[in-house]
Every structure is written in C-alpha cells, then in structure tokens.
C-alpha cells in the first residue's frame, strides 16, 4: 500500500522548539487547513446548502479568539470597516470628508 504521509513522524513546530504533534490538532489548525481549499464544484450540479464562502468570513473572526487568529496570521478584519472599529471610524471620517469636499465643490460651481 502506497503512502505519502505515513512514513514520517508528524511534526509541529512552535516557539522555536520543534516538537512531535502528539495530541489532536486545534480547531483553528483544522479550519485553517480545510477552509477555501480543495476541489470545488460549481454550476448546477452542486447543492448549495452550506455557504462556505460566507461561513469563511464569519469563522475567521471567531476562531477561538482574536489572538489565536492573529497568531495564525489572519488579521484581514483590521482593515475591514464591517469588523474593525478603527477601520469603521476611518471609513466614517472618509465619508464625511467626501461629503464636505462635494459640498465645497458645489459652492465653487455655484
């Protein structure tokens, strides 16, 4: 029986100390591994019951904790106004400035 993975002890390195992965993977590890990956079926042959794309967005914010996610390098929400208060504030300020510029332009035209 051929095997691509069974002849090598699985390793998991962290904190500078390579160590054998003795216990089960964390949920964050598994989600990171399985989300957005693999063969995709599109078109009418598939059954769109589980909206993975939408779930992916939500899940990445919720993975265990924000710290864990950031440690995993997932920090896209920092720049997403929907999820980040600072980004939301920046977006709001941006909107207000655009309105003021538009207003000034109107005055100039008038």
């Amino acid at each position: 029986m051929s095997s691509s993975t069974s002849n090598l002890t699985r390793i998991d390195t962290g904190g500078g100390q390579p160590r054998r992965a003795g216990g089960p993977d964390s949920l964050a590890d598994i989600l990171e591994r399985v989300l957005d990956k693999g063969v995709v079926i599109v078109g009418d042959i598939g059954v769109s019951v589980l909206d993975i794309e939408l779930l992916t967005l939500k899940i990445r914010l919720l993975i265990s904790s924000v710290e864990t996610a950031k440690e995993m390098g997932i920090d896209w929400w920092d720049g997403d106004p929907f999820f980040s208060s600072s980004a939301r504030q920046a977006a709001e300020e941006n909107r207000e400035l655009r309105e003021r510029v538009a207003e000034l332009e109107k005055r100039l035209e008038g």
């Binding site: 992965a21 591994r33 693999g38 063969v39």
Partner: protein, 259 residues
C-alpha cells in the same frame, strides 16, 4: 433515498484503493452512522457518504469546540487525512454536496482527465505548511553621533550605547530576513510545488510546500535548523506536516459544461 438525501464528498482517490479500508476504519464521516463509500469512473474514485441536506442547512458560523461546524470540519479532515495515509488524495472542499449518485457518476466521467491529472500531480507528496508567527521587528537606522560628543561624559556614553543597541537591532533584522530567505529557498528547492508568496517578501505569513516523500526527511531537517536559527534572531517559524495536499487541489469542476 428521501428527497433531502444528498451525497457528501470528501476526496478523489485512485480507483485501486481498497474500499475495505473504508469499512475497517469505522469512521462515520460527517453524518452520524453514515458509512464511507466509493464511486468509481475510469481510474479514479470519489469517497463519499450519504447525508441529509437538512444536516448542513442548520450549520452556522459557531466555531467553538463542540459546535456542529467544528465537528463537521474535524470529521471532514479526519477522513481526508486517513485517505492520505493510504495513497494519493485530492481533498474536496468542506461542505460539498451533490444531489444524487447519478450526478456524482456523471461528474467523475466528465471531469475524469482533469481529476486524474491533478491526482497524479500530488501522488507521493504531502503538504507542509510553514507559517511565520513572528518576524523580527524592524529597527530604526542608527542616529549619527557628533565626534565632539564622543569625548564628553555620561550623555555620550548613553548615545553610544543607544547607537550600539540600534546597530545590533538592525543587524538582527537583516540577519532574520537573510536566514528566512535562505530557508525558504532551500525548502522550495525540495518541493515539487509551492502555494503562496515567498515568506521573505515581508508581507507573506504563510506558505505551503508540496513535498515528495523522498525529500521529506531533508525538508524536516532544514525546517528544524531554520526554526532554531530564526528563533535566535527574534523570529518564530511554525511548521505543520505532513498533511493532505489541501493547497494543491484547486481544481474547479462543473463550470460551463452544463450551460
């Protein structure tokens, strides 16, 4: 089979895979009590279970341990990891359903060439994921110190110490990316394929390598040396593997063929 019954897909494997293994595993698949089965076409086969569509429609983004989604992801990964221990496997994306077996058979026949080629591409290989959990912090350039001040008292000593500290930080930062680049290049040379940008570009945090089985001991050796070297210069490189080739199975099926 009821109207709500569907086929949940896990992966594409060689038809020659002994399906008795699936029964021996006693894996339930993503649905309680559902047994793993194989449907073949040509030299490939799909591994799947029966599942009620209602079982997935109630899944939400609750990802704490014990939630339905967590259980689904764990079972999906467990099946694919088990398949990878038997031979080549193309993981199918989490949550993929087909309406019936006839649709699966049609899909396998129509997409046989592409799937067989993709399966050949990952055959004998495993995925290794390398993640940069912490990079060395960028340091400010050392400030110039006036020659007259060097001859002075305590303030001069302070400035000199500060300059030395900054110089050390700059050197460490440069050393970090030099080591990272060398490690990345060495790993890529051993890999059949990579997914993701070079880690040493500065913005990348994660890269996956498709590593042939024969190269995996050398890959691990470089990883272990790299982890030790990078830790010395303030970095934290984390590596997981061998894993099923999730990042190297990006095949899209079913698009356009039925328009």
């Amino acid at each position: 089979m009821s109207a709500a019954a569907c086929i949940y897909l896990y992966g594409i494997v060689d038809r020659s895979l002994d399906d008795r293994c699936l029964r021996d595993w006693m894996l339930d698949g993503v649905s309680d009590g559902a047994r793993l089965e194989m449907t073949s076409a040509g030299r490939i086969a799909a591994v799947h279970t029966d599942m009620s569509a209602e079982e997935l429609s109630g899944v939400d983004a609750e990802v704490v341990e014990g939630s339905r989604l967590a259980e689904l992801a764990r079972r999906h990964d467990a099946v694919i990891t088990s398949l990878a221990s038997l031979g080549a496997v193309l993981p199918v994306r989490l949550g993929t359903l087909l309406p019936e077996r006839a649709a699966l058979a049609t899909l396998l026949q129509e997409e046989h060439t592409g799937l067989a080629d993709a399966l050949d591409n990952v055959r004998g290989c495993a995925e290794w994921q390398v993640r940069l959990a912490r990079a060395a912090a960028p340091a400010e350039a050392p400030e110039p110190v006036e020659p007259a001040a060097v001859a002075g008292g305590g303030g001069t000593v302070y400035l000199l110490d500060r300059r030395r500290a900054r110089r050390r930080a700059v050197e460490q930062y440069e050393r970090f990316y030099s080591v990272l680049e060398a490690v990345d290049e060495a790993l890529a040379l051993l890999a059949k394929d990579t997914a993701g940008p070079l880690l040493a570009t500065g913005s990348a945090r994660r890269r996956s390598y498709l590593v042939p089985q024969a190269e995996q001991p050398a890959f691990v050796s470089i990883v272990e040396q790299g982890v030790a070297q990078l830790t010395e210069v303030g970095g934290d490189l984390r590596v997981r593997g061998p894993l099923p080739p999730y990042s190297f199975s990006g095949v899209q099926l079913g698009g356009g063929a039925r328009e």
